[in-house]
């Protein structure tokens, strides 16, 4: 386990990471695994909805621009589904217009992070904050 990320997440934390840019996704996933999380990586909106219901993660990191179903649509479906509506979803995107952030929060996102302005460690900190606040 990586010394920087050690202890950030409670043992057994499950994370679903939805990101169509495989390189970016792999970097975040690598850090999450190093932090001791059980990570399920998905690069498609439709599969993400089913995976979230199936895995019941402690937190979802969700990109917005995805092939097929957009991140906003995935978020809406997750929040409408009784089985998944309590799962916190953090939007992670390089879109960052006021209207995008407002739409995300209105749909029930726990936070909206702009990838370009953050490091992977900061993203993990935000995810850990959300997971720990639910405990």
């Amino acid at each position: 386990m990586d010394s920087q990320t050690q202890g950030k997440f409670p043992t057994g934390t499950k994370v679903v990471m939805v990101e169509d840019d495989k390189f970016l996704g792999s970097l975040v996933a690598k850090k999450l695994v190093a932090a001791g999380c059980d990570v399920k990586y998905v690069d498609n909106g439709e599969i993400a909805v089913a995976t979230i219901e199936d895995v019941q993660p402690h937190v979802v990191l969700l990109d917005l621009l995805l092939p097929g179903m957009s991140g906003f649509d995935v978020l809406a479906k997750v929040k409408q589904n009784e089985k998944t509506k309590q799962i916190p979803v953090i939007l992670l995107s390089n879109l960052g217009e006021k209207k995008d952030i407002e739409q995300g929060i209105q749909l029930g996102a726990a936070n909206f992070l702009i990838k370009a302005t953050m490091t992977v460690d900061e993203i993990l900190d935000e995810a850990a904050k959300v997971v720990n606040s639910k405990k």
Partner: protein, 323 residues
């Protein structure tokens, strides 16, 4: 109001037509006299042909001006109103399309930079294996360059946003105090790192509201504060004050920093301009901040100006009309 404007345009065009007609008639008269009375064409045939050519162009141009005026005259005021509304709607649609395009372009430009930064940071931190100190130095410089590119990209995005039509501004009646406080909060860490004290002189009584786009004014004040912090080296003081003055709220940001040299003062609000002393001290910046701030403030019907003395300090003022 719209009808008045249209009438003004018509009157202007009518005058234009009269002037053109008069000039054309006088010119035609002169040509005719030269041609028939003095037999001028015999010696200067080429010159005469050029003059005739110019007159033909003149008449064709006039024909179209007349046609346009007639079209405008036959347009009823209701149609004029609907035309103006159509144009307004088209401008708004264009602005919207431009905003969508820029938003997508931002995303596409940010994505590769994000990957570069994230990967470099992990390599620098030794998360994917040991790196030598020489390699680390080079990687750190590359990481800093990627950060600089990102900052430049964000600043260019901001320019585009403030260049956008006023129609895209979301004006609301707001209390300026929490807006200033929010800008101060967002730069407080930067001030702490630079050992700068931030003082906010709040007014005694209550101030009237201002009609503003909150997000844009926060951006403008944040940028002014960041400048003051950046250009005040070591243990400086930045004082923020606000007062009401003849129907305007005047927000001032005073520092005891490096100041702006007199020879550069007339250029500071120009896009991409950077003062000589800032360049000599190799301070990072793109020179778009003040251009952006002035643009934002003026879209609110306000003013932005400064007083500065090199090596003494600078005070920037933003004045916004009371709602």
């Amino acid at each position: 109001m719209n009808q008045q404007k249209t009438e003004t345009i018509l009157i202007k065009n009518k005058k234009d037509l009269v002037v053109r007609l008069s000039v054309a008639l006088v010119a035609a008269g002169v040509v005719a006299i030269l041609f028939f009375e003095f037999g001028f064409y015999k010696q200067h045939l080429e010159t005469m042909l050029v003059i005739l050519g110019i007159l033909v162009v003149f008449y064709i141009d006039m024909f179209f001006v007349k046609k346009n005026i007639l079209r405008e005259i036959t347009t009823s005021s209701a149609e004029e109103k609907s035309l103006i509304l159509d144009v307004k709607e088209q401008v708004m649609n264009l602005d919207q399309k431009k905003a969508e395009f820029v938003s997508l372009a931002i995303h596409q430009l940010r994505a590769p930079l994000t990957g570069i930064r994230w990967a470099l940071k992990m390599i620098i931190d030794g998360e994917v294996g040991e790196v030598t100190s020489e390699q680390k130095n080079m990687l750190v410089k590359t990481y800093e360059a990627s950060m600089k590119s990102l900052t430049m990209l964000n600043e260019l995005i901001n320019i585009d946003r403030v260049d956008a039509s006023k129609l895209l501004y979301d004006f609301k009646d707001e209390n300026i105090i929490p807006i200033i406080q929010s800008a101060i909060d967002s730069v407080s860490l930067q001030a702490q790192d630079n050992k700068i004290i931030l003082n906010f002189n709040q007014p005694q009584g209550t101030l009237p509201f201002v009609k503003i786009d909150k997000e844009k004014i926060v951006t403008a004040i944040e940028n002014l504060l960041e400048n003051s912090i950046k250009y005040t080296i070591g243990r400086g003081i930045v004082t923020i004050s606000v007062k009401e003055d003849s129907g305007f709220l005047d927000v001032s940001i005073k520092d005891n920093g490096i100041g702006i040299p007199l020879k550069d003062q007339s250029n500071v609000f120009k896009k991409f301009f950077r003062a000589h002393n800032a360049l000599e001290m190799r301070m990072q910046g793109s020179g778009v901040g003040l251009f952006m701030i002035k643009n934002i403030v003026e879209k609110h019907g306000g003013k932005c100006w400064f007083e500065s003395e090199e090596n003494v300090g600078t005070t920037f003022h933003v004045s916004l009309p009371v709602a």
